[in-house]
Symmetry: C2
Subunit: 295 residues, 2 copies
Protein backbone atom coordinates (compact mmCIF):
# COMPACT_ATOMS: atom_id res chain seq x y z
CA UNK A 1 0.00 0.00 0.00
CA UNK A 2 1.12 3.49 -0.82
CA UNK A 3 0.62 5.80 2.15
CA UNK A 4 -1.36 8.94 1.31
CA UNK A 5 0.30 11.96 2.91
CA UNK A 6 -2.44 14.52 3.42
CA UNK A 7 -1.43 18.12 3.80
CA UNK A 8 -4.26 19.12 6.10
CA UNK A 9 -2.88 17.82 9.43
CA UNK A 10 0.48 19.40 8.58
CA UNK A 11 -1.14 22.74 7.72
CA UNK A 12 -3.26 22.56 10.89
CA UNK A 13 -0.19 22.01 13.05
CA UNK A 14 1.59 24.97 11.42
CA UNK A 15 -1.51 27.17 11.81
CA UNK A 16 -1.70 26.31 15.50
CA UNK A 17 1.87 27.40 16.00
CA UNK A 18 1.19 30.58 14.01
CA UNK A 19 -1.83 31.50 16.16
CA UNK A 20 0.25 30.79 19.25
CA UNK A 21 3.10 32.99 17.93
CA UNK A 22 0.66 35.86 17.34
CA UNK A 23 -0.88 35.48 20.81
CA UNK A 24 2.45 35.04 22.56
CA UNK A 25 3.93 38.30 21.41
CA UNK A 26 2.24 41.68 21.77
CA UNK A 27 2.69 44.22 19.02
CA UNK A 28 0.93 45.18 15.83
CA UNK A 29 -1.24 42.55 14.12
CA UNK A 30 0.89 40.98 11.37
CA UNK A 31 -0.22 42.43 8.03
CA UNK A 32 0.13 40.91 4.57
CA UNK A 33 -0.54 42.71 1.28
CA UNK A 34 -0.89 40.72 -1.93
CA UNK A 35 -0.07 42.66 -5.08
CA UNK A 36 -1.43 41.49 -8.42
CA UNK A 37 -2.57 42.67 -11.82
CA UNK A 38 -6.27 42.48 -11.03
CA UNK A 39 -6.97 40.18 -13.94
CA UNK A 40 -8.02 36.54 -14.15
CA UNK A 41 -5.00 34.32 -13.53
CA UNK A 42 -4.07 31.18 -11.59
CA UNK A 43 -2.87 33.55 -8.88
CA UNK A 44 -6.51 34.56 -8.18
CA UNK A 45 -7.24 31.11 -6.82
CA UNK A 46 -4.19 31.30 -4.54
CA UNK A 47 -5.33 34.78 -3.44
CA UNK A 48 -8.66 33.53 -2.13
CA UNK A 49 -6.83 30.89 -0.13
CA UNK A 50 -4.48 33.50 1.30
CA UNK A 51 -7.43 35.62 2.44
CA UNK A 52 -9.12 32.68 4.16
CA UNK A 53 -5.90 31.43 5.77
CA UNK A 54 -4.97 34.89 7.02
CA UNK A 55 -8.37 35.40 8.60
CA UNK A 56 -8.24 31.97 10.20
CA UNK A 57 -4.96 32.60 12.03
CA UNK A 58 -5.42 36.30 12.80
CA UNK A 59 -3.35 38.04 10.13
CA UNK A 60 -4.52 41.31 8.56
CA UNK A 61 -4.81 40.73 4.80
CA UNK A 62 -5.53 43.01 1.92
CA UNK A 63 -5.14 42.92 -1.84
CA UNK A 64 -3.59 45.62 -3.93
CA UNK A 65 -4.68 45.34 -7.54
CA UNK A 66 -2.81 47.38 -10.13
CA UNK A 67 -5.08 49.63 -12.19
CA UNK A 68 -5.80 48.56 -15.78
CA UNK A 69 -2.98 49.58 -18.09
CA UNK A 70 -0.43 49.82 -15.27
CA UNK A 71 3.18 49.18 -16.30
CA UNK A 72 6.44 48.17 -14.68
CA UNK A 73 7.01 51.65 -13.23
CA UNK A 74 3.59 51.63 -11.55
CA UNK A 75 4.31 48.22 -10.05
CA UNK A 76 7.69 49.40 -8.77
CA UNK A 77 6.08 52.48 -7.22
CA UNK A 78 3.42 50.34 -5.51
CA UNK A 79 6.06 48.05 -4.03
CA UNK A 80 8.28 50.94 -2.93
CA UNK A 81 5.33 52.46 -1.13
CA UNK A 82 4.54 49.18 0.63
CA UNK A 83 8.21 48.83 1.55
CA UNK A 84 8.04 52.20 3.30
CA UNK A 85 4.63 51.63 4.90
CA UNK A 86 5.22 50.68 8.57
CA UNK A 87 1.78 49.06 8.84
CA UNK A 88 2.65 46.49 6.16
CA UNK A 89 4.94 43.69 7.32
CA UNK A 90 4.83 41.31 4.41
CA UNK A 91 4.23 41.65 0.69
CA UNK A 92 3.44 38.96 -1.82
CA UNK A 93 3.64 39.57 -5.56
CA UNK A 94 1.76 37.66 -8.25
CA UNK A 95 4.03 35.13 -9.91
CA UNK A 96 4.73 34.58 -12.73
CA UNK A 97 4.20 38.01 -14.28
CA UNK A 98 4.01 38.46 -18.05
CA UNK A 99 5.88 41.26 -19.87
CA UNK A 100 6.21 44.21 -19.58
CA UNK A 101 6.54 43.30 -15.90
CA UNK A 102 9.79 41.86 -14.57
CA UNK A 103 9.14 39.82 -11.45
CA UNK A 104 12.73 39.81 -10.17
CA UNK A 105 13.23 43.54 -10.68
CA UNK A 106 9.88 44.34 -9.07
CA UNK A 107 10.29 42.17 -5.98
CA UNK A 108 13.74 43.69 -5.43
CA UNK A 109 12.00 46.94 -4.45
CA UNK A 110 11.22 45.26 -1.13
CA UNK A 111 13.66 44.86 1.75
CA UNK A 112 14.36 41.18 2.46
CA UNK A 113 12.17 41.13 5.59
CA UNK A 114 9.06 42.18 3.64
CA UNK A 115 9.71 39.85 0.69
CA UNK A 116 7.80 37.25 2.66
CA UNK A 117 7.99 34.49 0.08
CA UNK A 118 11.79 34.78 -0.10
CA UNK A 119 11.92 34.97 -3.89
CA UNK A 120 13.81 38.26 -4.32
CA UNK A 121 17.53 38.20 -5.09
CA UNK A 122 18.61 39.12 -1.56
CA UNK A 123 16.57 36.36 0.03
CA UNK A 124 17.63 33.72 -2.48
CA UNK A 125 21.25 34.77 -2.01
CA UNK A 126 21.01 34.63 1.76
CA UNK A 127 19.63 31.12 1.41
CA UNK A 128 22.73 30.14 -0.61
CA UNK A 129 24.94 31.83 2.00
CA UNK A 130 23.10 29.79 4.66
CA UNK A 131 22.00 32.91 6.51
CA UNK A 132 18.40 32.90 5.34
CA UNK A 133 15.76 35.50 6.16
CA UNK A 134 12.70 34.09 4.34
CA UNK A 135 12.73 30.77 2.46
CA UNK A 136 10.06 30.31 -0.27
CA UNK A 137 6.89 28.94 1.35
CA UNK A 138 6.57 26.13 -1.17
CA UNK A 139 10.07 24.85 -0.32
CA UNK A 140 9.32 25.11 3.39
CA UNK A 141 6.02 23.27 2.82
CA UNK A 142 7.61 20.42 0.88
CA UNK A 143 10.11 19.93 3.69
CA UNK A 144 7.46 20.29 6.41
CA UNK A 145 5.25 17.61 4.91
CA UNK A 146 8.26 15.27 4.47
CA UNK A 147 9.28 15.86 8.09
CA UNK A 148 5.78 15.44 9.46
CA UNK A 149 5.47 12.00 7.88
CA UNK A 150 9.08 11.15 8.72
CA UNK A 151 10.13 10.50 5.14
CA UNK A 152 13.82 9.65 4.64
CA UNK A 153 15.47 13.05 4.61
CA UNK A 154 18.19 13.85 7.12
CA UNK A 155 21.49 12.72 5.68
CA UNK A 156 19.65 10.67 3.04
CA UNK A 157 19.87 10.73 -0.71
CA UNK A 158 16.90 12.66 -2.11
CA UNK A 159 16.04 13.95 -5.56
CA UNK A 160 14.66 17.31 -6.60
CA UNK A 161 13.06 17.34 -10.02
CA UNK A 162 12.97 20.86 -11.43
CA UNK A 163 15.39 23.78 -11.32
CA UNK A 164 13.31 26.94 -11.26
CA UNK A 165 14.66 29.84 -9.25
CA UNK A 166 11.50 30.05 -7.15
CA UNK A 167 10.82 26.36 -6.42
CA UNK A 168 13.32 23.64 -7.39
CA UNK A 169 16.60 25.42 -6.66
CA UNK A 170 15.57 26.96 -3.31
CA UNK A 171 14.19 23.58 -2.23
CA UNK A 172 17.42 21.79 -3.20
CA UNK A 173 19.52 24.35 -1.33
CA UNK A 174 17.32 24.13 1.77
CA UNK A 175 17.57 20.32 1.72
CA UNK A 176 21.35 20.25 1.43
CA UNK A 177 22.07 23.09 3.83
CA UNK A 178 23.80 22.84 7.14
CA UNK A 179 21.47 25.63 8.30
CA UNK A 180 18.32 23.50 8.01
CA UNK A 181 19.95 20.58 9.81
CA UNK A 182 18.75 18.29 7.03
CA UNK A 183 22.13 17.58 5.45
CA UNK A 184 20.53 15.66 2.60
CA UNK A 185 22.53 14.53 -0.41
CA UNK A 186 20.60 16.02 -3.32
CA UNK A 187 20.27 14.85 -6.90
CA UNK A 188 19.19 17.85 -8.96
CA UNK A 189 17.44 16.66 -12.10
CA UNK A 190 15.29 18.45 -14.66
CA UNK A 191 13.73 18.39 -18.10
CA UNK A 192 17.14 18.15 -19.76
CA UNK A 193 18.38 15.26 -17.62
CA UNK A 194 19.34 12.30 -19.76
CA UNK A 195 18.17 8.96 -18.41
CA UNK A 196 16.05 10.36 -15.60
CA UNK A 197 15.30 6.84 -14.40
CA UNK A 198 18.90 6.08 -13.58
CA UNK A 199 19.41 9.57 -12.11
CA UNK A 200 16.60 8.86 -9.62
CA UNK A 201 17.72 5.29 -8.94
CA UNK A 202 19.29 5.88 -5.53
CA UNK A 203 16.76 8.43 -4.23
CA UNK A 204 14.71 7.53 -1.16
CA UNK A 205 12.53 10.62 -1.33
CA UNK A 206 11.65 12.44 -4.55
CA UNK A 207 10.51 16.06 -4.56
CA UNK A 208 8.88 16.61 -7.90
CA UNK A 209 8.56 20.24 -9.02
CA UNK A 210 8.39 19.61 -12.77
CA UNK A 211 4.81 20.69 -13.49
CA UNK A 212 4.40 17.77 -15.89
CA UNK A 213 1.28 15.70 -15.22
CA UNK A 214 1.88 11.95 -15.17
CA UNK A 215 5.67 12.29 -15.28
CA UNK A 216 6.26 10.02 -12.30
CA UNK A 217 5.26 6.42 -12.93
CA UNK A 218 6.63 2.95 -12.21
CA UNK A 219 9.16 3.29 -15.01
CA UNK A 220 10.80 6.31 -13.40
CA UNK A 221 10.35 5.94 -9.66
CA UNK A 222 12.51 3.45 -7.73
CA UNK A 223 10.30 0.91 -5.91
CA UNK A 224 9.63 2.00 -2.34
CA UNK A 225 10.57 5.66 -2.80
CA UNK A 226 8.45 8.34 -1.15
CA UNK A 227 7.14 11.17 -3.31
CA UNK A 228 6.43 14.76 -2.35
CA UNK A 229 4.47 16.07 -5.31
CA UNK A 230 5.15 19.80 -5.63
CA UNK A 231 4.02 19.88 -9.25
CA UNK A 232 0.81 21.74 -9.95
CA UNK A 233 -0.79 21.77 -13.36
CA UNK A 234 -4.27 22.41 -14.62
CA UNK A 235 -5.76 19.82 -16.97
CA UNK A 236 -9.13 19.93 -18.76
CA UNK A 237 -11.93 18.09 -16.94
CA UNK A 238 -15.49 18.63 -18.18
CA UNK A 239 -16.90 17.27 -14.91
CA UNK A 240 -14.99 19.79 -12.77
CA UNK A 241 -16.12 23.28 -11.83
CA UNK A 242 -14.48 25.61 -14.35
CA UNK A 243 -13.84 22.72 -16.72
CA UNK A 244 -10.36 22.01 -15.33
CA UNK A 245 -8.80 20.26 -12.39
CA UNK A 246 -5.47 20.54 -10.56
CA UNK A 247 -3.05 17.64 -10.88
CA UNK A 248 0.50 16.98 -9.75
CA UNK A 249 3.46 15.31 -11.44
CA UNK A 250 2.71 11.83 -10.11
CA UNK A 251 0.49 9.28 -11.79
CA UNK A 252 -1.09 8.24 -8.49
CA UNK A 253 -2.98 5.25 -9.92
CA UNK A 254 0.15 3.83 -11.56
CA UNK A 255 2.25 4.34 -8.43
CA UNK A 256 -0.25 2.80 -6.02
CA UNK A 257 1.45 -0.15 -4.35
CA UNK A 258 4.82 0.88 -5.84
CA UNK A 259 5.79 4.14 -4.11
CA UNK A 260 5.94 3.90 -0.32
CA UNK A 261 4.16 7.22 0.14
CA UNK A 262 2.73 10.06 -1.95
CA UNK A 263 1.34 13.52 -1.27
CA UNK A 264 -1.93 14.03 -3.14
CA UNK A 265 -2.69 16.93 -5.49
CA UNK A 266 -4.84 18.74 -4.51
CA UNK A 267 -4.65 18.46 -0.74
CA UNK A 268 -0.93 17.79 -0.29
CA UNK A 269 1.78 20.46 -0.56
CA UNK A 270 -0.78 23.18 -1.49
CA UNK A 271 -2.48 23.76 1.86
CA UNK A 272 0.86 23.45 3.67
CA UNK A 273 2.31 26.20 1.42
CA UNK A 274 -0.41 28.62 2.48
CA UNK A 275 0.17 27.74 6.14
CA UNK A 276 3.94 28.26 5.77
CA UNK A 277 3.30 31.58 4.08
CA UNK A 278 1.24 32.75 7.07
CA UNK A 279 3.99 31.57 9.43
CA UNK A 280 6.44 33.69 7.42
CA UNK A 281 4.17 36.75 7.75
CA UNK A 282 4.43 36.54 11.53
CA UNK A 283 8.20 36.14 11.28
CA UNK A 284 8.31 39.20 8.99
CA UNK A 285 6.44 41.23 11.62
CA UNK A 286 8.88 40.04 14.31
CA UNK A 287 11.92 40.83 12.15
CA UNK A 288 10.60 44.33 11.46
CA UNK A 289 9.63 45.06 15.05
CA UNK A 290 11.49 48.22 16.12
CA UNK A 291 12.41 46.50 19.40
CA UNK A 292 14.43 44.03 17.35
CA UNK A 293 15.92 46.73 15.14
CA UNK A 294 14.07 47.68 11.99
CA UNK A 295 16.33 49.20 9.40
CA UNK B 1 46.79 6.99 -18.29
CA UNK B 2 45.17 9.77 -16.38
CA UNK B 3 45.21 12.97 -18.39
CA UNK B 4 46.69 15.93 -16.48
CA UNK B 5 44.54 19.01 -17.04
CA UNK B 6 46.82 21.99 -16.60
CA UNK B 7 45.22 25.30 -15.81
CA UNK B 8 47.82 27.43 -17.57
CA UNK B 9 46.58 27.12 -21.17
CA UNK B 10 43.04 27.77 -19.95
CA UNK B 11 44.13 30.83 -17.99
CA UNK B 12 46.17 32.06 -20.97
CA UNK B 13 43.17 31.78 -23.28
CA UNK B 14 40.99 33.72 -20.82
CA UNK B 15 43.69 36.38 -20.36
CA UNK B 16 43.93 36.83 -24.13
CA UNK B 17 40.21 37.44 -24.34
CA UNK B 18 40.43 39.85 -21.40
CA UNK B 19 43.22 41.89 -23.04
CA UNK B 20 41.19 41.91 -26.23
CA UNK B 21 38.06 43.08 -24.34
CA UNK B 22 40.04 45.95 -22.79
CA UNK B 23 41.52 46.97 -26.15
CA UNK B 24 38.26 46.63 -28.05
CA UNK B 25 36.32 49.05 -25.93
CA UNK B 26 37.46 52.56 -25.10
CA UNK B 27 36.67 53.96 -21.68
CA UNK B 28 38.34 54.08 -18.29
CA UNK B 29 40.93 51.41 -17.48
CA UNK B 30 39.15 48.70 -15.46
CA UNK B 31 40.09 49.11 -11.81
CA UNK B 32 40.08 46.50 -9.05
CA UNK B 33 40.54 47.19 -5.35
CA UNK B 34 41.29 44.33 -2.96
CA UNK B 35 40.26 44.98 0.64
CA UNK B 36 41.89 42.99 3.44
CA UNK B 37 42.92 43.13 7.07
CA UNK B 38 46.57 43.80 6.36
CA UNK B 39 47.73 40.83 8.37
CA UNK B 40 49.35 37.53 7.38
CA UNK B 41 46.68 35.21 5.96
CA UNK B 42 46.20 32.78 3.08
CA UNK B 43 44.57 35.69 1.28
CA UNK B 44 47.98 37.43 1.08
CA UNK B 45 49.19 34.77 -1.34
CA UNK B 46 46.09 35.24 -3.51
CA UNK B 47 46.65 39.01 -3.36
CA UNK B 48 50.11 38.81 -4.93
CA UNK B 49 48.66 36.73 -7.74
CA UNK B 50 45.90 39.26 -8.29
CA UNK B 51 48.45 42.07 -8.58
CA UNK B 52 50.54 40.16 -11.13
CA UNK B 53 47.52 39.03 -13.15
CA UNK B 54 46.01 42.53 -13.21
CA UNK B 55 49.27 44.05 -14.44
CA UNK B 56 49.63 41.37 -17.09
CA UNK B 57 46.24 42.04 -18.69
CA UNK B 58 46.09 45.81 -18.18
CA UNK B 59 43.83 46.23 -15.16
CA UNK B 60 44.52 48.91 -12.55
CA UNK B 61 44.98 47.19 -9.21
CA UNK B 62 45.41 48.46 -5.69
CA UNK B 63 45.14 47.08 -2.20
CA UNK B 64 43.23 48.67 0.62
CA UNK B 65 44.46 47.37 3.98
CA UNK B 66 42.36 48.12 7.04
CA UNK B 67 44.31 49.90 9.77
CA UNK B 68 45.28 47.82 12.82
CA UNK B 69 42.40 47.56 15.28
CA UNK B 70 39.77 48.32 12.62
CA UNK B 71 36.33 46.83 13.29
CA UNK B 72 33.22 45.90 11.34
CA UNK B 73 32.07 49.53 11.10
CA UNK B 74 35.40 50.61 9.58
CA UNK B 75 35.21 47.83 7.04
CA UNK B 76 31.63 48.80 6.14
CA UNK B 77 32.71 52.44 5.73
CA UNK B 78 35.61 51.42 3.48
CA UNK B 79 33.33 49.37 1.26
CA UNK B 80 30.65 52.08 1.11
CA UNK B 81 33.28 54.54 -0.01
CA UNK B 82 34.52 52.18 -2.74
CA UNK B 83 30.93 51.60 -3.81
CA UNK B 84 30.53 55.35 -4.35
CA UNK B 85 33.94 55.88 -5.96
CA UNK B 86 33.41 56.13 -9.75
CA UNK B 87 37.07 55.26 -10.42
CA UNK B 88 36.67 51.82 -8.77
CA UNK B 89 34.82 49.25 -10.88
CA UNK B 90 35.38 46.08 -8.90
CA UNK B 91 36.01 45.25 -5.26
CA UNK B 92 37.30 42.04 -3.76
CA UNK B 93 37.11 41.36 -0.02
CA UNK B 94 39.34 38.99 1.92
CA UNK B 95 37.54 35.74 2.60
CA UNK B 96 37.02 34.19 5.05
CA UNK B 97 37.04 36.95 7.66
CA UNK B 98 37.26 36.15 11.36
CA UNK B 99 35.00 37.86 13.95
CA UNK B 100 34.21 40.64 14.64
CA UNK B 101 33.93 40.95 10.87
CA UNK B 102 30.91 39.54 9.05
CA UNK B 103 31.79 38.78 5.46
CA UNK B 104 28.22 38.62 4.15
CA UNK B 105 27.15 41.86 5.85
CA UNK B 106 30.28 43.66 4.68
CA UNK B 107 30.14 42.59 1.04
CA UNK B 108 26.47 43.65 0.93
CA UNK B 109 27.65 47.27 1.13
CA UNK B 110 28.59 46.92 -2.54
CA UNK B 111 26.19 47.12 -5.45
CA UNK B 112 26.04 43.81 -7.35
CA UNK B 113 28.12 45.16 -10.26
CA UNK B 114 31.08 45.98 -8.01
CA UNK B 115 30.89 42.73 -6.00
CA UNK B 116 33.13 41.26 -8.67
CA UNK B 117 33.46 37.81 -7.15
CA UNK B 118 29.67 37.42 -6.98
CA UNK B 119 29.60 36.33 -3.35
CA UNK B 120 27.24 38.95 -1.90
CA UNK B 121 23.59 38.06 -1.29
CA UNK B 122 22.28 39.90 -4.35
CA UNK B 123 24.69 38.19 -6.73
CA UNK B 124 24.13 34.72 -5.26
CA UNK B 125 20.38 35.29 -5.44
CA UNK B 126 20.55 36.44 -9.04
CA UNK B 127 22.47 33.27 -9.84
CA UNK B 128 19.62 31.21 -8.33
CA UNK B 129 17.10 33.29 -10.30
CA UNK B 130 19.15 32.58 -13.44
CA UNK B 131 19.70 36.26 -14.11
CA UNK B 132 23.28 36.42 -12.91
CA UNK B 133 25.46 39.53 -12.77
CA UNK B 134 28.75 38.11 -11.44
CA UNK B 135 29.30 34.38 -10.75
CA UNK B 136 32.07 33.49 -8.25
CA UNK B 137 35.38 33.24 -10.15
CA UNK B 138 36.21 29.84 -8.69
CA UNK B 139 32.93 28.37 -10.00
CA UNK B 140 33.54 29.96 -13.42
CA UNK B 141 37.09 28.60 -13.39
CA UNK B 142 36.04 25.04 -12.54
CA UNK B 143 33.57 25.12 -15.42
CA UNK B 144 36.05 26.78 -17.80
CA UNK B 145 38.69 24.13 -17.22
CA UNK B 146 36.12 21.34 -17.65
CA UNK B 147 34.92 22.92 -20.89
CA UNK B 148 38.41 23.55 -22.24
CA UNK B 149 39.30 19.87 -21.87
CA UNK B 150 35.83 18.78 -23.04
CA UNK B 151 35.00 16.82 -19.91
CA UNK B 152 31.51 15.29 -19.82
CA UNK B 153 29.34 18.19 -18.70
CA UNK B 154 26.46 19.31 -20.89
CA UNK B 155 23.42 17.28 -19.98
CA UNK B 156 25.64 14.79 -18.14
CA UNK B 157 25.53 13.56 -14.57
CA UNK B 158 28.18 15.37 -12.56
CA UNK B 159 28.92 15.57 -8.85
CA UNK B 160 29.77 18.58 -6.71
CA UNK B 161 31.44 17.73 -3.43
CA UNK B 162 31.00 20.55 -0.94
CA UNK B 163 28.14 22.91 -0.15
CA UNK B 164 29.70 26.21 0.91
CA UNK B 165 27.84 29.36 -0.07
CA UNK B 166 30.89 30.74 -1.89
CA UNK B 167 32.11 27.65 -3.78
CA UNK B 168 30.10 24.40 -3.82
CA UNK B 169 26.57 25.79 -4.03
CA UNK B 170 27.25 28.49 -6.65
CA UNK B 171 29.11 25.92 -8.75
CA UNK B 172 26.24 23.43 -8.50
CA UNK B 173 23.71 26.10 -9.49
CA UNK B 174 25.83 27.26 -12.43
CA UNK B 175 26.20 23.67 -13.65
CA UNK B 176 22.49 22.91 -13.50
CA UNK B 177 21.26 26.24 -14.82
CA UNK B 178 19.50 26.83 -18.08
CA UNK B 179 21.31 30.17 -18.18
CA UNK B 180 24.77 28.58 -18.53
CA UNK B 181 23.57 26.22 -21.24
CA UNK B 182 25.21 23.35 -19.36
CA UNK B 183 22.03 21.63 -18.19
CA UNK B 184 24.00 19.16 -16.10
CA UNK B 185 22.28 16.78 -13.68
CA UNK B 186 24.03 17.51 -10.40
CA UNK B 187 24.63 15.29 -7.40
CA UNK B 188 25.29 17.58 -4.44
CA UNK B 189 27.28 15.70 -1.81
CA UNK B 190 29.19 16.87 1.26
CA UNK B 191 30.82 15.93 4.52
CA UNK B 192 27.55 14.61 5.93
CA UNK B 193 26.74 12.43 2.92
CA UNK B 194 26.33 8.81 3.94
CA UNK B 195 27.95 6.35 1.57
CA UNK B 196 29.74 8.92 -0.56
CA UNK B 197 31.02 6.15 -2.82
CA UNK B 198 27.56 5.14 -3.94
CA UNK B 199 26.46 8.81 -4.20
CA UNK B 200 29.28 9.41 -6.70
CA UNK B 201 28.72 6.12 -8.55
CA UNK B 202 26.98 7.57 -11.60
CA UNK B 203 29.05 10.75 -11.93
CA UNK B 204 31.14 11.25 -15.07
CA UNK B 205 32.81 14.43 -13.84
CA UNK B 206 33.46 15.19 -10.18
CA UNK B 207 34.00 18.74 -8.95
CA UNK B 208 35.62 18.41 -5.56
CA UNK B 209 35.39 21.46 -3.29
CA UNK B 210 35.75 19.68 0.05
CA UNK B 211 39.13 21.00 1.19
CA UNK B 212 40.07 17.55 2.49
CA UNK B 213 43.47 16.34 1.23
CA UNK B 214 43.47 12.77 -0.05
CA UNK B 215 39.68 12.46 0.06
CA UNK B 216 39.38 11.24 -3.52
CA UNK B 217 40.97 7.84 -4.09
CA UNK B 218 40.15 4.62 -5.95
CA UNK B 219 37.66 3.63 -3.27
CA UNK B 220 35.52 6.71 -3.82
CA UNK B 221 35.93 7.66 -7.47
CA UNK B 222 34.14 5.65 -10.17
CA UNK B 223 36.66 4.24 -12.65
CA UNK B 224 37.07 6.54 -15.65
CA UNK B 225 35.56 9.63 -14.02
CA UNK B 226 37.19 13.01 -14.66
CA UNK B 227 38.07 15.13 -11.64
CA UNK B 228 38.18 18.91 -11.34
CA UNK B 229 39.98 19.46 -8.07
CA UNK B 230 38.74 22.71 -6.55
CA UNK B 231 39.94 21.76 -3.06
CA UNK B 232 42.82 23.79 -1.71
CA UNK B 233 44.49 22.93 1.56
CA UNK B 234 47.86 23.69 3.05
CA UNK B 235 49.80 20.74 4.47
CA UNK B 236 53.15 20.82 6.30
CA UNK B 237 56.14 20.15 4.05
CA UNK B 238 59.61 20.84 5.50
CA UNK B 239 61.12 20.85 2.00
CA UNK B 240 58.78 23.58 0.75
CA UNK B 241 59.33 27.32 1.04
CA UNK B 242 57.38 28.42 4.12
CA UNK B 243 57.27 24.86 5.41
CA UNK B 244 53.94 24.07 3.78
CA UNK B 245 52.62 23.14 0.37
CA UNK B 246 49.23 23.46 -1.36
CA UNK B 247 47.31 20.28 -2.06
CA UNK B 248 43.88 19.46 -3.46
CA UNK B 249 41.27 16.87 -2.49
CA UNK B 250 42.52 14.20 -4.88
CA UNK B 251 45.18 11.63 -4.09
CA UNK B 252 46.80 11.99 -7.50
CA UNK B 253 49.18 9.04 -7.08
CA UNK B 254 46.36 6.69 -6.09
CA UNK B 255 44.14 7.87 -8.93
CA UNK B 256 46.77 7.63 -11.65
CA UNK B 257 45.52 5.17 -14.24
CA UNK B 258 42.08 5.11 -12.60
CA UNK B 259 40.55 8.55 -13.16
CA UNK B 260 40.33 9.55 -16.83
CA UNK B 261 41.56 13.08 -16.12
CA UNK B 262 42.58 15.23 -13.18
CA UNK B 263 43.37 18.91 -12.64
CA UNK B 264 46.58 19.28 -10.60
CA UNK B 265 46.95 21.32 -7.40
CA UNK B 266 48.73 23.66 -7.67
CA UNK B 267 48.48 24.59 -11.34
CA UNK B 268 44.91 23.55 -12.08
CA UNK B 269 41.82 25.53 -11.02
CA UNK B 270 43.95 28.14 -9.16
CA UNK B 271 45.43 30.07 -12.09
CA UNK B 272 42.14 29.86 -13.98
CA UNK B 273 40.33 31.42 -11.01
CA UNK B 274 42.63 34.46 -11.13
CA UNK B 275 42.09 34.76 -14.88
CA UNK B 276 38.30 34.53 -14.48
CA UNK B 277 38.44 37.17 -11.76
CA UNK B 278 40.22 39.56 -14.14
CA UNK B 279 37.62 38.82 -16.83
CA UNK B 280 34.92 39.74 -14.29
CA UNK B 281 36.66 43.05 -13.54
CA UNK B 282 36.34 44.06 -17.18
CA UNK B 283 32.70 43.00 -17.16
CA UNK B 284 32.16 45.08 -14.01
CA UNK B 285 33.61 48.13 -15.77
CA UNK B 286 31.34 47.54 -18.75
CA UNK B 287 28.25 47.08 -16.56
CA UNK B 288 29.02 50.31 -14.72
CA UNK B 289 29.78 52.33 -17.82
CA UNK B 290 27.47 55.38 -17.83
CA UNK B 291 26.73 54.73 -21.50
CA UNK B 292 25.13 51.44 -20.47
CA UNK B 293 23.31 52.97 -17.52
CA UNK B 294 25.06 53.13 -14.16
CA UNK B 295 22.65 53.28 -11.28
Amino acid sequence: MTERLDGKPVADAIDSRTREAIRARPGPTPALVSVHRGVESPFRFYLRRQARAAESVGIRFRESALPPGAGAADLAATLRELDRDPTTHAVLLEHPLPPPFDFLDAISELRAEKDVDGVGATNLGRLVAQRSVHVPAVARAAIAIARHYQLPLEGERVAVLGRSGTVGLPLAIALVARESGLNATVILAHSRTRDLRSALAGARTIFSCAGRPGLLDRELVPKGAAIVDVGLSSVPDPSARGGAKAVGDADAAALDGWASALTPVPGGVGPVTVAELMASVVRARDLLDPARGDR
